[in-house]
Symmetry: C2
Subunit: 295 residues, 2 copies
């Protein structure tokens, strides 16, 4: 399968498994479970799940082994979007072309839905029946480190602190490596854990993810300037409104895109230590996709 | 050491280890790390940590083995209090006699501090160097299940949904088992995991925690009626204000207390399968303490 076919296929596989996980729940609160499914299911490109599964594939191991890790990271991603959209955070009413979670369920339930997705994700990763407990313990530690105060949440805080300020490129990169890069590198490394990869391969996967995260953030910044809300399915022009320092504001649009191309070039080189196969070809195409994506 | 000496001692040990964990962090966002320490350190009775450590002790295993699990559950407890206090939730300005997290750091940072504590706790439990990876994987799964949508968060949602409504005792018990009991039973079972206890012992520890959770919630309800904010270090009279069904409102104060006594009696009986020693004597005293506590 080509990259785009795989991306679609893996998104479906992840969606089905996630739906199974969320629907087999026995107990809890109906309204909370509804709010969780509302944001965790039925949308998104599932890029992080794709990376988990394709890295596992590239290492010659059945991607089924990594599927629950893929679901776990998508739950973390869904949690972060719910909390990002809250009035006290980005105050966003739209997400993926529909009302954001707090608009649909109210703030209290949205906070709890985000919390639940974050917490439940560790049970999903920790219980992955296709991997052993050592792998699952490693996966959980990685997931926690990449999403918590030294990962994604730390990045969100730096993002908030830098609103209305001009920050230097170095600080912007630190922000982006945490806010965006952390989950990309987590995804690639989770695929490696499921495949029992070497430490060298895990390190390369981690760095690959960080570079892709930078390039992804740059194209995100550019789309925020050049797209309509309709095209993107979310609010646009936010960065300027929030007076955020972004790659285009520091480097011009053209300069920012050149940075993205440069990061992608470096990222591709890191794949040299992995076996050559269809999965690798697809991951190389994923790199190009980051640069040309329209949403 | 007697129960009260142990409670104090174990709180100090947990506080020290937690402080070490939070202060050895390298990176992230300063303001976020500050907000995390503000709520995670310097306060609370650390009852959940106490149960983790004393159950491990009772099983004849050095409580040091369980210390990082104790820290992890206290991080989950701290996260839940931060999010509970948010304007969209209980809207509480005071916590442990000082401004609640969002009053001190603003809502956005408080949301992220809660998120971070929740997420980071899994790295702490998952990396417990005194236990093996199998134990750590089990600990993480338990922590996630007891705190997520089928545990504490599910209970919070039922609590919100039942505001202003009269609910029956059965539904109140379901609520309390999730909102309060889940973390108590998690704590007791974490101590068992650190001590490689039998499945039978883990089951007894789980049920013991649920019963203590019920008794604890009843005395919490009674203190909410009969204490001052100064005595309690948090807002009082909330339940009536929020028109919540509580044990006293359903059973009268006297009736509610009798229920608490009954739960504690049952809880004590569950300890029969554990070895007799000082730790067990202390846990029995902990049971009595739940009934007589003044804050």
């Amino acid at each position: 399968m080509s990259f785009f076919e795989s991306l679609k296929d893996y998104a479906d596989i992840t969606e089905n498994r996630l739906s199974q996980i969320l629907n087999q729940k026995d107990g809890g609160a109906d309204r909370l479970n509804e709010a969780i499914s509302y944001s965790a299911l039925g949308g998104g490109k599932r890029l992080r799940a794709y990376l988990v599964l394709e890295f596992c594939n590239m290492l010659g191991i059945d991607k089924e082994n990594a599927l629950d890790y893929a679901c776990a990271i998508e739950m973390i991603q869904a949690f972060s979007l719910i909390h990002d959209d809250l009035p006290a955070m980005d105050n966003d009413d739209m997400r993926r072309g529909k009302p954001s979670n707090h608009k649909a369920f109210g703030e209290a339930t949205a906070i709890l839905a985000g919390d639940s997705l974050a917490l439940d994700s560790f049970a999903v990763a920790g219980r992955n029946a296709k991997c052993n407990k050592e792998q699952n313990a490693d996966a959980v530690i990685l997931l926690a480190e990449k999403s918590g105060s030294l990962g994604m949440c730390g990045g969100q805080q730096i993002d908030i602190d830098s609103e209305g300020k001009r920050i230097e490129l170095e600080e912007l990169l630190r922000l982006v490596d945490l806010k965006t890069g952390a989950l990309f590198s987590c995804a690639c490394t989770l695929g490696c854990i499921a495949a029992n990869a070497s430490e060298e391969q895990k390190k390369a996967a981690n760095d690959f993810g960080l570079l892709c995260g930078r390039a992804f953030q740059i194209t995100d910044d550019l789309l925020d300037i050049n797209s309509t809300a309709e095209e993107l399915g979310k609010t646009v022009g936010k960065d300027e409104l929030q007076e955020k320092s972004t790659f285009p504001s520091l480097l011009t649009e053209k300069g920012a895109f050149e940075y993205a191309e440069n990061y992608i070039e470096k990222a591709k080189k890191l794949l040299a230590i992995f076996p050559d196969n269809q999965a690798k070809t697809n991951i190389l195409e994923f790199c190009d996709y980051i640069l040309i994506r329209k949403k």
